[in-house]
């Protein structure tokens, strides 16, 4: 028996023995269905499920008539979502988390021993399908054979590293034994989920079966009625690669280098699991399992993991924004119009078309439309080439993008999204006209970044259907969409556009209609502070390096070049106009702007951008045309970091005071998905909590008094926000 004593059960835990349904189609065969009554939608491995699996296995082990065992889900295409992340996140006691991991591993090992591969007398077969991530995959790996549902919905793999941990219920040991070290490393380090066919090719699955036949096929295999040889493809590779210490060292070295490049060493989980996977085929399983357990403990308790788990839960919660008050998803938008075929409009229309929404893109400029069509084709063909989509799907995605230079054909559009010039009268005119052409109940959305949604809505009939839908550039890469709620916006409209954002694979966050909304309002002081440091004589490359080391995906100077100096200046000016002193924007880059140096798009901004390999511009050093700077620069990199991050953090506190977002959790999510704020720090406010609010206030006050700041126009940005001071004084944190 495993020992789960002392671990708190969830409040809705069902009585013992109810989480697994035991079916006995024949005297020698048992089908064990994971069917926990307290998780009617998606089963997860939580304490009651482990407890009941333990009971079930004990009963089966004692049954002399039994020959075969099939592990299955509630439905062929529904098994489990892995270990229960919320349970783990909620454990107050560190020992509880450790125990949960340890006992889960021991339990799966017992299942393994029941099977023939583990020396037992049963033939154990996992018959799974749908999403089979993490712990769900690990229990399947512990069976003799793995039969996978042959269905587009099937995805199987070990994505634990994405949560700052690694597969520790035997996954790090059993996967390399099954599919070889290189493939296992590839899977585990990137946290990849594989579709059914690839899983079969890798040898992760032994056989595929259509969902309707899945259980029957698994039963036959368990009884020995259908032969299902283990997909052993390793052959000579087992000796030459997996069990060869030299090859192992080389693989480990290369993989480590790849991980370091990808994560800059900021994420410990891939580095911790790497040696375990590489050594797995050369170790006894028991030794490997012990090593696995020892390595995962500190990770599970780490801040990085907590931050990542928290983010995961937040992004899952954000998806619920698309769900109406009745618990049903808001109605899908099937046809949309996008007005303005610039980079944003074209990108949004292309994404809509790819994700199954008919998109009618309108622009008066034919060249822009043609360019949008080409960009869409390139994107879809690229996906096709990488086998991400099949030919018919690609064709349908290509077909769904309609372009028109005449303002006709919008009659069936349920959503009109404008991405035209950032001028109030233009946007009003465009939406006003489209309101008469589209369905009378069509949602009118604006992709504005600097205008007020209310101002746009004011002139339109039925302003309750006007909403802001702020995508970020580049549309395909940026995961956040700010959904801007105007004062009149109907909640049903919010739910529908949130659902659309989720359908597009984006994370929505609902924000209030304030200048800059949330993300740009936070980025304003951050970017401006960086530019002012450059003005003071700092090396832009050094600033960028400091921020990248901190965990940002790119430094602020590069970000300005990426966004475009013109756009950044415009955004800065509109923020300054709205918020006054604390958002005052330096005009330092004015001369560059006047000379046509607009950033990456023009080949030069703060840096020089040369055409590099694969069409991506490469950094060619600091632009010599950068206006002469005052020097010498004396601040340390720690001070540099403080100025940028604290300027942003202080503004975040003000955003909370203004109720721009629902709360600190949503704000953290937006900073990570909208600004790329270091995910392992869990978001801006979580980072502030980690530093300590009293410390933050103190540092802000010091910055406020710094010689170059004190008395300057922008000094206010470092004056600690009232709510921050209050929280610090009360000893509270943002998330406390």
């Amino acid at each position: 028996m495993i020992d789960l004593a002392g671990i708190p059960l969830p409040a809705d835990a069902p009585p013992p023995g109810t989480c697994w349904r035991i079916e006995r189609p024949a005297p020698e065969l048992v089908r064990l269905h994971l069917d926990p009554p307290h998780r009617p939608k998606l089963a997860v491995f939580d304490v009651p499920v482990l407890r009941d699996l333990d009971l079930a296995l004990a009963a089966l082990a004692a049954d002399p008539a039994l020959r075969g065992l099939v592990i299955a889900g509630r439905e062929p295409l529904s098994f489990a979502g892995g270990a229960d992340i919320e349970t783990i996140a909620r454990f107050a006691e560190k020992e509880h988390a450790e125990k949960f991991v340890r006992e889960g591993q021991a339990l799966f090992e017992r299942l393994h021993r029941l099977g023939r591969e583990g020396g037992g007398r049963l033939c154990t077969v996992a018959a799974v399908g749908g999403a089979v991530p993490g712990g769900a995959c690990e229990i399947a790996l512990a069976c003799d054979r793995l039969v996978l549902a042959d269905d587009p919905k099937t995805r199987i793999g070990l994505p634990e590293v994405l949560l700052g941990i690694f597969p520790a219920w035997g996954g790090s040991q059993r996967l390399p034994r099954r599919i070889g070290v290189p493939a296992a490393l590839d899977s585990i380090l990137a946290g990849k989920l594989h579709p059914a066919k690839r899983a079969l090719r890798l040898g992760l699955a032994d056989r595929l079966a259509k969902p309707a036949y899945l259980w029957r096929v698994a039963e036959e295999i368990a009884r020995g009625g259908i032969a299902c040889p283990r997909r052993e493809r390793r052959g000579w590779r087992l000796w030459l690669v997996d069990r060869n210490p030299l090859a192992g060292a080389a693989i480990a070295h290369l993989a480590r280098r790849g991980v370091m490049k990808e994560t800059k060493g900021q994420y410990p989980a891939p580095l911790a699991v790497l040696p375990l996977v590489v050594r797995a085929p050369r170790m006894r399983l028991a030794t490997g399992l012990a090593a696995e357990l020892a390595a995962v403990g500190p990770l599970a308790a780490s801040d990085v993991s907590k931050s990542l788990v928290n983010l995961f839960l937040l992004s899952e919660a954000a998806k619920k924004l698309g769900v109406g008050p009745d618990g049903e998803k808001a109605p899908r938008i099937a046809r949309a119009a996008v007005i303005g075929a610039g980079v944003m409009g074209g990108g949004i229309a292309s994404l809509l078309a790819e994700k199954g929404v008919e998109a009618r893109l309108h622009d008066l400029e034919p060249a822009a439309l043609d360019a949008a069509v080409h960009a869409h084709r390139r994107e879809i063909e690229r996906k096709r080439k990488r086998r991400r989509i099949e030919r018919p799907e690609a064709d349908a995605a290509l077909d769904r993008l309609e372009v028109t230079r005449a303002p006709v054909g919008f009659a069936r559009c349920e959503l009109v999204l404008e991405a035209v010039a950032e001028r109030l009268e233009v946007k009003r005119a465009v939406l006003g006209r489209l309101a008469t052409l589209a369905r009378p109940d069509a949602i009118l959305a604006t992709n504005t970044s600097s205008l007020a949604v209310d101002a746009i809505a004011a002139s339109l009939p039925r302003p309750e259907r006007v909403v802001g839908m702020h995508f970020f550039n580049p549309v395909r890469r940026m995961p956040l969409v700010e959904i801007v709620r105007g004062t009149a916006t109907d909640p049903g409209v919010i739910a529908r556009v949130a659902r659309l954002a989720v359908d597009l694979g984006k994370t929505p966050v609902v924000v209030k209609d304030v200048p800059g909304f949330l993300v740009n309002r936070l980025l304003g002081p951050y970017l401006d502070e960086a530019l002012r440091l450059v003005e003071m004589g700092a090396d832009p490359a050094a600033i960028d390096r400091a921020l990248v080391d901190f965990g940002m995906p790119m430094g602020p100077c590069e970000l300005v070049d990426e966004v475009g100096l013109d756009i950044a200046a415009h955004a800065g000016a509109s923020l300054a106009a709205a918020y006054g002193g604390r958002m005052a924007a330096t005009g330092f880059l004015g001369p560059l702007l006047a000379a046509g140096h607009l950033g990456k798009k023009s080949g030069a901004g703060i840096y020089l951008w040369k055409p590099g390999p694969a069409g991506r511009p490469a950094n060619g050093g600091v632009n010599p045309a950068l206006p002469s700077r005052r020097g010498p620069f004396t601040l340390t990199m720690v001070e540099v970091l403080d100025r940028l991050v604290l300027a942003m953090g202080n503004e975040a506190a003000r955003c909370l005071e203004d109720a721009v977002v629902a709360g600190p959790r949503e704000l953290d999510l937006a900073t990570v998905f909208g600004t790329g704020f270091a995910p392992f720090r869990g978001g801006l406010l979580r980072h502030a909590d980690a530093v300590g609010l009293a410390e933050i206030v103190e540092r802000l006050e010091r910055l406020h008094a710094a010689p170059d700041v004190a008395g300057s126009e922008r000094a206010e940005r470092f004056a600690p926000a009232a709510s921050l001071v209050e929280r610090a004084r009360a000893g509270r944190s943002f998330h406390g």
Binding site: P366, A367, H374, L398, E402, T404, F410, R412
Partner: protein, 470 residues
């Protein structure tokens, strides 16, 4: 319907159509059309893609994608809910081998929901008209009211086919089980199997009954009607000049939607115009060309024949009442249509036979027709038709009437140029003729227009369109 009344009052008409007296009857569907003006069949909306020379800018297209592009845009512009379409009917002569019922693929790719049925019709060059007349007949029979009709052809995609010897070689290879058998089959390999493929395009343009390729049927007409090379070249030049003028005045742009074909290089602009129009065509250049089908004395050259072309046309066919309910102002009403058969070796005369029937069904005469779209398969064939239309003796010998059918007035014939300049995407052309003729009603302020064409295999098709009161 007016046609019925007119028919009974016209004593000349009674001997028509080469039918034995006992089997004389009214042409089919007009008889069953409801007299209610709301039940008139109309072309509620229509548009087409530019027509591009085969092997050119649309070379990477396939018929389903091209047809769907036109159909999708039409549905969007008409603002019609695709779910309310009763059926999609596509005319296509050579559907790709992987899209045998290309109409169904077009419908689904255009966003028509799965529950709406779709089929493909083939009447060779008149397939696009067949799609529309099928819809009209169905409406008359009370089987549906709203039809999405498409004419489409991608002649670029016509395949080369392995010849019989090569096909047999592959079949034997697949049946061979043992290594010995395989080696035996391999030993039978002869290179000509693979260097003499069958050309689907050439074979498709050859009439299997008379054994004549289409160009040769035109040569027959040239000889019999005494059409000279000079006449043919002059006609071809006029076609290019008219097409150029129509393009430059924006007349053609009214029916065309620009299209960015797959395979276009990034940065390439959408195709906006028919690319077969030769702005610099001269009579001298045409005169230099050698006869293509009958050397050395033939009349038909590539310069005075239609070009092989890729394109698609989409039309929304419904009743006048339904169009009004949908808020659409129809391009034209379909007053009558007719199909006629003729000698396969003289298929170019098809329009004469079909027009005679269609005019009779409509109860009008040639003189009432303001604009004529007669497909220019070959300049020789158009000129031969012109002579036949105006000939009393031809009428007596073949149409069973005393007087000629009526003149094809040069000023009214193909005012915007024809297939010699614009190209002839076989399955799409007839729908294009309807669309162009329908637009011409308003452009030229006519009450009636005629669209007619010859059909490989010895047939003719004709439709009389009527301008609707606005």
């Amino acid at each position: 319907m007016g046609s019925l009344r007119a028919r009974s009052m016209d004593p000349e008409d009674s001997g028509g159509f080469n039918l034995p007296a006992g089997r004389r009857k009214r042409p089919g569907w007009n008889g069953i059309v409801n007299r209610d003006p709301d039940r008139r069949v109309v072309l509620a909306a229509g548009l087409r893609l530019p027509q591009a020379r085969a092997g050119g800018v649309f070379a990477a297209e396939d018929a389903a994608h091209l047809g769907a592009a036109a159909a999708r845009e039409l549905l969007a512009r008409a603002g019609v809910d695709p779910a309310s379409v009763d059926e999609t009917i596509a005319g296509c002569v050579g559907p790709p081998h992987d899209q045998a019922n290309v109409g169904r693929v077009i419908a689904l790719r255009a966003g028509v929901p799965r529950h709406v049925p779709a089929h493909t019709v083939n009447r060779n060059c008149a397939s696009g008209l067949e799609a529309v007349t099928t819809a009209a007949t169905r409406i008359a029979a009370g089987e549906g009211e709203l039809f999405l009709c498409v004419g489409v052809e991608v002649m670029s995609a016509y395949p080369l086919v392995y010849n019989r010897a090569a096909t047999k070689f592959f079949a034997r290879m697949m049946r061979a089980k043992t290594l010995g058998q395989r080696l035996g089959v391999l030993a039978s390999f002869r290179p000509p199997m693979f260097f003499a493929p069958r050309v689907a395009l050439t074979e498709g343009l050859t009439d299997p009954v008379s054994g004549l390729i289409m160009g040769s049927t035109a040569e027959v007409l040239a000889r019999e009607f005494g059409v000279t090379r000079e006449e043919a070249d002059a006609y071809a030049l006029a076609s290019h000049r008219r097409a150029r003028a129509a393009r430059e005045s924006g007349r053609l742009a009214r029916e065309i939607v620009p299209h960015v074909p797959p395979g276009a290089k990034p940065g390439a602009r959408a195709v906006e115009h028919d690319d077969g129009i030769r702005d610099d065509q001269t009579i001298e250049a045409l005169a230099k060309l050698r006869p293509y089908f009958e050397k050395p004395d033939g009349v038909v050259t590539v310069g005075n024949s239609c070009g092989l072309t890729d394109s698609a046309t989409a039309l929304l066919v419904t009743t006048a009442g339904r169009a009004r309910a949908l808020g659409l102002a129809p391009l034209a009403a379909l007053r009558s249509f007719a199909w006629a058969g003729c000698d396969p070796a003289r298929m170019g005369l098809g329009p004469v036979f079909a027009t005679a029937k269609a005019l009779a069904a409509a109860g009008v005469a040639m003189a009432d027709i303001g604009a004529i779209e007669l497909n220019e398969a070959f300049a020789v064939q158009v000129l031969a038709c012109q002579k036949a239309f105006a000939s009393d003796s031809f009428a007596r010998a073949h149409l069973g009437r005393e007087k000629a059918l009526g003149e094809l007035h040069p000023g009214r014939l193909n005012p915007n140029g024809g297939a010699i300049a614009l190209g002839h995407p076989v399955g799409a052309t007839a729908a294009r003729l309807l669309l162009t003729a329908a637009h011409e009603l308003a452009a030229g302020d006519h009450a009636l227009a005629l669209a007619t064409l010859c059909i490989g295999g010895g047939q003719g098709g004709a439709a009389v369109l009527e301008r609707m009161a606005r």
